[in-house]
């Protein structure tokens, strides 16, 4: 979402569910229930088909439809074995190294932007100075910039560094490392993160801050001991979104780590394989499921935060 919805929609989201009132007595309930169940099944079948495919021998996947599995169940974990345990870094056999790359990109790609955003949000809300409103508004407005607007100049910056005249002010980044990807995700994640955290942090009780000030606490102490602990729910929602965004990202990955199997994440490798459908169908099926596993676990275990975050603003990039 263009992220403005936090205050507007979280109110509705957190409103407790009322008991269904007699007024809302339904007409034709069985029919509606049947339609809803049919839709839910329809929505799930494609994913379910992939799950079944991933559990079938590679030969079967290529030769017969996944639905024939129920007539002739040949069940195997070989695909998962191949995906996880074949080949090494820089190779193209298994997907394990790419899974490691995904993790290696996602952990810093989530923690670092949120930390920097929380600091910025705190200072914009509680260390006011002339111009802080202008900065906040600019950050908010930056959400309109699509990633695509930044790719070419950033790639140049990473490969050549930045110069003023002949003076190098920023070094180039070593190729084949995670740094360009980490830094890019940090920069792209900041506008939404700062905006959402500012919404939350600026509403913390002023009395608390003032009391701490009177006790002689510095801004740094207030930030660590009051602001961060109280902001946990907002930080959690945001972390889930940033995690999903980085984990699922393809564009940033293939732009800044493309062609370098040493650092390419799972999405990048799967996209390559999908382009040559038929070359490694068994890797595709199981690999896709491996790549979905972590997001699905996060989704089902942290659904409450997820929905809250979604209502607060989920679309970015």
């Amino acid at each position: 979402m263009s992220a403005g919805a936090l205050s507007a929609d979280t109110a509705t989201a957190t409103a407790p569910e009322r008991p269904v009132k007699a007024v809302r007595k339904s007409l034709g309930r069985p029919l509606i229930t049947a339609a809803v169940v049919a839709l839910a099944v329809l929505w799930t079948i494609p994913t379910f088909g992939l799950l079944i495919s991933s559990l079938r021998p590679a030969r079967d996947v290529v030769n017969t439809g996944w639905w024939t599995f129920f007539g002739h169940p040949h069940f195997t974990l070989a695909n998962y074995h191949d995906v996880l345990f074949k080949s090494g870094f820089g190779g193209t056999g298994g997907l394990f190294p790419f899974l490691v790359n995904s993790l290696a990109i996602t952990i810093p790609g989530t923690l670092i932007p949120i930390t920097i955003a929380a600091m910025a949000a705190y200072s914009l809300a509680w260390v006011r100075f002339r111009g802080s409103d202008a900065i906040f508004f600019t950050v908010f407005a930056l959400q309109v910039v699509p990633l695509q607007m930044t790719l070419i100049p950033l790639l140049r910056l990473y490969t050549h560094g930045a110069h003023i005249g002949s003076v190098q002010i920023l070094p180039s980044l070593p190729k084949g490392t995670y740094y360009p990807v980490w830094i890019s995700h940090t920069m792209f994640g900041l506008p939404l993160a700062i905006f959402l955290l500012h919404n939350f942090i600026s509403r913390l009780p002023a009395d608390l801050m003032e009391a701490a000030k009177i006790d002689g606490a510095s801004h740094f102490r207030i930030f660590r001991t009051i602001v961060l602990p109280l902001s946990t729910p907002a930080l959690a929602s945001l972390a889930i979104f940033q995690f999903l965004w980085v984990w699922n990202d393809l564009l940033v990955a293939i732009t800044f780590a493309g062609g370098q199997n040493k650092v390419l994440p799972l999405t990048g490798r799967l996209a390559q394989l999908n382009g040559q459908f038929g070359a490694h169908p068994e890797l595709l099926t199981a690999g896709a499921f491996v790549s979905m596993l972590l997001p699905l676990v996060v989704f089902f275990s942290l659904q409450r935060y997820f929905v809250r975050g979604l209502l607060a603003g989920s679309v970015k990039g």
């Binding site: 507007a8 509705t12 494609p46 999908n274 997001p295 979604l310």
Partner: protein
């Protein structure tokens, strides 16, 4: 066979390095906090601003603002950004037949996907509004939201896969239509313009859950008294829905629509993974990537990026105004 020992140790070393980087980041931060926290009096505030705000501002400047301006500038330059070409890149974008197709496709995407996803999401939200166990249904329809576009594309490859009808089918769609009596279905992904709609279906599949969750929350926030009053006045079923519930959630509806539209405008992964933009399925976001990183034409790529930016901006602006209004009325 287990993981080859070398791969395993490589992984451990890699993740170890990554955690080290994170640890160093936080250690340095704490150190800075500790040192900067010693400052007092007049210096305290400037130092706090320096430490808290300047990193973010610098990153945004280097990562978004300057690159966006440069892309704008490159869009008036040639393939290697050396020679100025005036508006040629934009002329190219609007007059080359292949790129006209790309623009038409993009238009198709941003109309069809948001409208259908929102309509479906609203329908489902209304239907589950009175149901028991609605959480299960919602979860299932919502699930595609957390799957990557790449994962979704692989999932849908098993739906759209084509085999000659004399062969056993592995694509679900072919299987279904053959069973229903269509003897020789086309090669779905290769048939333009049908393939565009098939790719849009994937986007709808992903976004419907989002529309449903947000609209469901909005419907729940309509006060019961209003519904009761309407029913006393004789509004039932569809009439209750169209003249009471819909107007009550109209602004949320618009926000959902524009939000999906913005996401659709930037859609890249689905097209990239499913067709690579071939078979007349390319859209602006994908073509921008193609022009830049496959054709190595920075001028064309930048111009497409600017077109994308110009498409997104009014939508975001509209969204913000809508939300302002909504907030003002509460």
């Amino acid at each position: 066979m287990l993981v080859p020992a070398s791969t395993f140790s490589d992984s451990a070393a890699k993740l170890g390095n990554v955690l080290e980087v994170v640890a160093v980041f936080f250690a340095v931060l704490l150190l800075i906090f500790y040192v900067a926290g010693k400052a007092s009096g007049k210096l305290e505030k400037p130092i706090a601003i320096l430490v808290f705000l300047v990193p973010a501002v610098l990153l945004l400047l280097i990562g978004l603002i300057i690159p966006a301006i440069r892309t704008f500038y490159y869009s008036f330059y040639g393939a290697t950004s050396v020679k100025s070409v005036g508006f040629d890149n934009y002329k190219w974008a609007f007059t080359t037949p292949a790129i006209q197709t790309v623009l038409k496709n993009t238009l198709l995407w941003i109309i069809v996907a948001p409208v259908l996803a929102t309509a479906l999401g609203l329908t489902i939200a209304l239907m589950v509004d009175r149901m028991k166990h609605q959480a299960i249904v919602k979860s299932l329809i919502f699930m595609p939201m957390v799957i990557s576009f790449v994962g979704a594309s692989i999932i849908w490859n098993f739906v759209y896969n084509y085999r000659d009808s004399s062969q056993p089918q592995i694509g679900l769609l072919s299987k279904v239509v053959i069973t229903l009596g269509w003897k020789h279905p086309p090669n779905w992904i290769l048939s333009s313009p049908l393939n565009n709609f098939l790719l849009i279906v994937i986007m709808i599949w992903i976004q419907t859950g989002f529309a449903m969750v947000v609209l469901s929350a909005a419907l729940k926030s309509v006060p019961d008294e209003i519904i009761e009053a309407a029913r006393v006045d004789g509004a039932h079923g569809f009439r209750l829905f169209s003249s009471v519930q819909i107007p009550m959630i109209r602004s949320t509806l618009v926000v959902v629509l524009t939000t999906i539209m913005i996401a659709t405008l930037k859609v890249f992964d689905i097209v990239r993974t499913m067709t690579g933009g071939n078979f007349k399925t390319s859209v602006v976001a994908n073509e921008m990537y193609n022009q830049t990183f496959v054709q190595f034409n920075n001028g064309h790529g930048s111009a497409l990026a600017v077109i994308l930016f110009l498409g997104v901006t009014p939508l975001v602006a509209y969204n913000v105004i809508q939300l302002r209004k909504e907030r003002a009325t509460r």
